[in-house]
Subunit: 154 residues, 2 copies
DNA sequence: CTGCAAGTTGAAGTCAACTTCAACTCAAGG
DNA sequence: CCTTGAGTTGAAGTTGACTTCAACTTGCAG
């Protein structure tokens, strides 16, 4: 019980249900070796991948995007700390951007919802550009649609 | 065209699809008056509610929770700036908490994923308490499940 | 060797948050 | 008046992220 983990053990240690782990495997987020009897055995390094998946999910990143990120790790060998560090650097930017966005949202909410401007005109959250001008007065919400990525630094 | 907005106008100004606006109405997030011919007409104050919904969604709050928050606004009268300000104060705490959480996640990611500790032991993201000790060594992920609320200040 | 908890699969179910569709009706310009 | 684009409804479809189920098979403690 030192070499590798059963799905139950990985589940207990990661806090992710076995069914979810199998689902992640189908999506290509994690991988497992098999015993002679076809049961999954996870090398300990998979714990790291699962943790990464969960952390990324926490901050609102889809499994599909997470898979893309994980695909940047070398498939042919066990990822080294350096491999992970590279990934971490990329994602740190994502997190920083998310944090920046949240701060803006909070401040705008204070200044807009809380300010009493009933028409929401001249609000930070609205009309930050002018591409939609010329269709009469009034504001236009330009927050991305829920599905789309909120992290698109210019 | 000054008093109230059609669903198309509200859609254009809020960036939310008409179908989504009808959906929001079914969920009780927004309300509409009706013309003699049964078409929706939105008082301008609804723009504010829609903006609130979208902003809250951005930060990962479910429509159900948003509805609860909006239910705190007086139904009998048009919400005053003070009503909105009260809501804003409550949500500012939520946003601050989200920001705090994101910062922690980012730092932990740097210190954990990036550090090279292959077993993830002694990691900030793991085992913050000791309730799960006694089942052998190893870590346990305690991030809330995706469905659950990440904002539970103690 | 046996018993039984833990594991396996594919298919189907669930839930949130919408969108799409069909089959209409309304509103407003010419 | 007539046409046409915008609006209406209920029902069904979609996507993401899983869970549940049925019907088995494995692996280990006693």
């Amino acid at each position: 019980m030192h070499e590798s983990l059963t799905i139950g053990q990985l589940s207990a240690r990661s806090g992710v249900a076995p069914s979810a782990l199998r689902y992640y495997e189908r999506l290509g987020l994690i991988r497992a070796e098999r015993t002679g009897g076809n049961q999954r055995r996870y090398p300990r390094t998979e714990l790291r991948r699962v943790a990464f998946v969960r952390i990324a999910q926490q901050v609102g990143i889809s499994l599909d995007e997470i898979r893309e990120a994980l695909d940047s790790l070398p498939a042919s060998r066990t990822p080294t700390p350096d491999d992970w560090a590279a990934l971490s650097r990329v994602w740190r930017e994502r997190l920083d951007e998310k944090i920046r966005l949240l701060g803006k949202l909070r401040d705008d909410l204070d200044g807009c919802i809380g300010c009493g401007c009933l028409s929401l005109q001249r609000c930070n959250l609205y009309n930050p550009g002018d591409s939609l001008a010329g269709e009469g007065p009034g504001a236009r919400l330009v927050l991305p649609r829920p599905g789309s990525d909120t992290v698109t630094p210019s």
